[in-house]
Symmetry: D2
């Protein structure tokens, strides 16, 4: 294994690489692009890399199912960090190309719905053809196969292109969430604004019991930040749920909720507790908990129970 190597969903010049470079430790790691999410994660599983950065959710396209499914199955992995990256595209062209010269455009299929309106307004006659990735599209422009590619502005230099237009995004606030994944280890200490990820499976003989699962969180005052259903592979109608809950596994309310799920679900996979991205340091630890759900209140209640059991209440 290489403690200094991080893989990521490549190729170079993608938004994933840009996201990875926002992590301070990236400067001292060997960053290795991989051809797919499974490949990036398998490198972690088999010890060739210490961690992998992969996209997990896009505010326009939704969950990245390859990532969710890889985390839910196979050799266990854990999430240690998340990165939120605003997504805005640049139209990359060979130097000297003018907008009126652009007859063909390319980009990752996921990019298309995010620039569709812009294309309709500014290049109504341009023909779109998909590329394997945004960076790959840039490479194809470099090679002369297309006149322009939608990609991150940071990809221009890599491929000797220039950004003819920047800040292209049909949807306001478009962003992608990436996670840094490693082999299971003790989660980082709580920061006061954390997130806990799990995947839970329902009992087969118990359809429609999603409500029961959610009550395990609700009764302990734990907010859900994301719930995503995924097929279990056992046929239409059989789902597991990938859930992000607010708080850290070392928070008593979160731990008790997880134990509750563990008891009623045939399978629960803990995917990690890690700092919420996008919460400024001063606001960490300032969140108002529902009364009765702080660690101090849990400890008080446990002491009271012990006194009752001893006849000293």
């Amino acid at each position: 294994m290489s403690a200094t190597r991080y893989t990521y969903l490549g190729p170079e010049g993608t938004f994933t690489e840009a996201a990875l470079r926002t992590l301070p430790e990236a400067a001292t790691r060997e960053l290795v692009p991989m051809v797919s999410v499974p490949a990036a994660l398998d490198a972690v599983r088999n010890g060739e890399a210490a961690a992998a950065l992969v996209p997990i959710e896009n505010s326009v396209e939704g969950g990245v199912t390859a990532t969710v499914d890889e985390l839910a199955s196979g050799e266990p992995l854990m999430i240690y960090r998340e990165v939120l990256l605003p997504i805005s595209f640049a139209l990359l062209v060979r130097p000297g190309t003018k907008l009126s010269d652009v007859k063909t455009v390319t980009g990752h299929p996921v990019a298309q719905p995010q620039v569709r309106n812009w294309l309709r307004s500014h290049l109504p006659d341009a023909v779109w053809e998909s590329a394997a990735s945004n960076a790959d599209g840039a490479r194809l422009v470099q090679e002369g196969r297309f006149d322009a590619a939608f990609a991150g502005e940071f990809a221009a230099a890599t491929y000797g292109l220039e950004a003819l237009v920047t800040e292209i995004h049909d949807a306001q606030n478009a962003e992608t969430r990436f996670v840094l994944v490693g082999r299971p280890a003790r989660p980082a200490a709580p920061t006061g604004a954390d997130k806990t990820s799990v995947v839970i499976w329902q009992r087969d003989d118990h359809p429609g019991a999603l409500l029961e699962l959610l009550q395990e969180f609700a009764v302990r005052g734990v907010n859900l930040m994301l719930l995503q259903s995924r097929p279990t592979g056992a046929g239409i109608g059989n789902y597991c749920f990938a859930i992000d809950a607010e708080g850290h596994i070392s928070d008593r309310r979160v731990g008790e909720a997880l134990m509750g799920l563990k008891r009623i679900c045939p399978k629960v996979r803990f995917l990690g507790s890690y700092p919420q991205a996008g919460v400024a340091a001063p606001r960490r630890g300032r969140r108002t908990l529902r009364p009765g759900t702080s660690d101090a209140e849990f400890v008080d209640a446990a002491e009271w129970l012990a006194r009752c059991q001893d006849g000293r209440a």
Copy 2:
């Protein structure tokens, strides 16, 4: 204090005494009748008695509010046993009295609704006047003040009377539940069919939150056997709740529910865990729990949580 003295709601010859005598240890205790529930309980509080037997609930008349209110306030007490006694009345008369001789009848006010139909059928013209207790009614018959008294058949001997009619009860299955109350101490070990009693108070600023309290039990699969609202004394609309839940405080599901209540209620008073009356020994421990709520499952889940927190899940 006297470890050998038990008080009970007197006078002698009441159903409470009969209930007390069903307890094996009653044979070796000094049994002292008291004039009221508060008096019986105060003798325990101030150390003059080791325990007191008092009625807490009647299947016809409902909760015995004096008992519930005494347990909910003042110096803490705990319930160690419950006794269920079928209630059926005998018509006690002076020897030689015939039914046609009975012109006046007496008994405790609570007895009246339980024999009303019988009176209408068999003694439609008899005049009823209440006595302070059923036993007191028997004494008044002995003294010649009334022709007959409704009381337990066992009271006849005490007052030199005979039971002219027995098994009188308008309601089928009429029974009274009594509790044996002592000073706080470690509850008896679980028997496999136990009951846990608490009184809980709601937050003042949180009307209508009874549902929230009950969910603390429901989410852990703890059944409620009794819920009784009592005024807190702060004016109409302010209530506390006396609750009997199935299970023992040493059952993990019960303990966790109690801690949940402790966290969200301004005040919780634990009143004890004790064997359910009326469950035959072979059936103890045979109850089917909701999946995921056994102690073993709680322990497994706690171990799993510890492994997750250590990065070994």
Copy 3:
């Protein structure tokens, strides 16, 4: 039947009479004291009276079970009004009696716990003996059987007594709630601050399902103001629930909740919708409903559903 006759729990001079006289229409009715709650209500059932005023709840003693049980069983009756009366006692004596002359005191058993502390401070050596009612106690003082009686100050005149001390009440805010009961008819129109009373029975085979009943209210945003369990008479462990909910049966959220209960309970008895006592006119109709529970929102949703069913949504 007599449309002009109102019965009440007598005798004359009780708090019930005082409560009845707060109703404007009492001035034009014949007010008839009855010996018991059942007697007062039976007079309504058999047409001898148009309505009866009876106590239903006391902030110190709790529910008046005779009233609750009478409303829950027998020929149906309905509540049309409620009256809240602050309870404070006067010490009534024969003219000229001084406090130091008082050796014996009387009053209704329910009065005793409400004046116990006062007695301990001011008349520690006085002997208490209960009377059948507060008014009856006053009569016994008039007859010379006791030196003083606790009763409403308004009872003094009736019995030729004087109030030696007034405003006696151990508990702050002590009050009693009375209800005006008549035969079933269309409830009065909503006032903007109403209350709906029902009694509901649980399915025998479904213990512990109280939560389910309460969710019928909660999901429609209907607050509960009172929940009181009463035995069904089928033995310990079998209860029905007398519930007061906020709102009027003609409020859509209340109606839908009642229908929900009707579907899942073997028996529901509607006891009326009537103005909440103690809410000043300007505040009526100003209560903030939970979003989505106003009549207008119910109507909008019904219209939307109809459009969906017609393919016009």
Copy 4:
């Protein structure tokens, strides 16, 4: 508009076409393949086609987000039918090709994870390259670009190929669910085994309230068959939910649940009520409802409420 034209996700020879041909009316319609789900649905929106058949969910890959998102936004459409198709691949080759001749294989990217294990066992050295669709892969084999393509066996004839191996599928029970979508109209009559689809949006100021939405179904005994979260486009953390519930909009329990959602959600889009696929005719109408949720019980409760409101209960 053309009442006789149905579009589908093309090209010819895909599983979507096979699913469409299972519908009896397909025999009398003009079936037009389209290049994308949006294109197939837009043809319906603008009147060029009466309906479109598109995939909505795959038991291995999960929800088809393009379809879900198209149904959730834009000009309203409704689902009228669903089709379940078992997915099993054939390995299509030019006539005469032997397994040992196969060096290159192609197919839709979604096919790859479903045949990965088979490939590893039977063609470990073959090189995979993705095609735009399974049918397109078959065409490329016909043209000699690849040695073999994974596609439905039914595609062989169209492209002059033969099925060298059939029934290839790594996952047991792999199936895809398709929906027949048209412009909004009155839903078909209930069949006794129906499904209702909606998309619901949460209030912005109300995170973590998914539980509340699900309770609108649960309290009326409506089972959920699918819950899928989708981004609203307003940034990470903002979701809407595509839900399939058991039952028909004309079932009272379903209608009341939908009205409940309509009241508490800022937006609800009704996507149709239609027969559940895969339920044999004799079992239709035989499902055991939760007690209290049948139409008859809803009607009874409504009549009871009307009687209460009229004073005739």
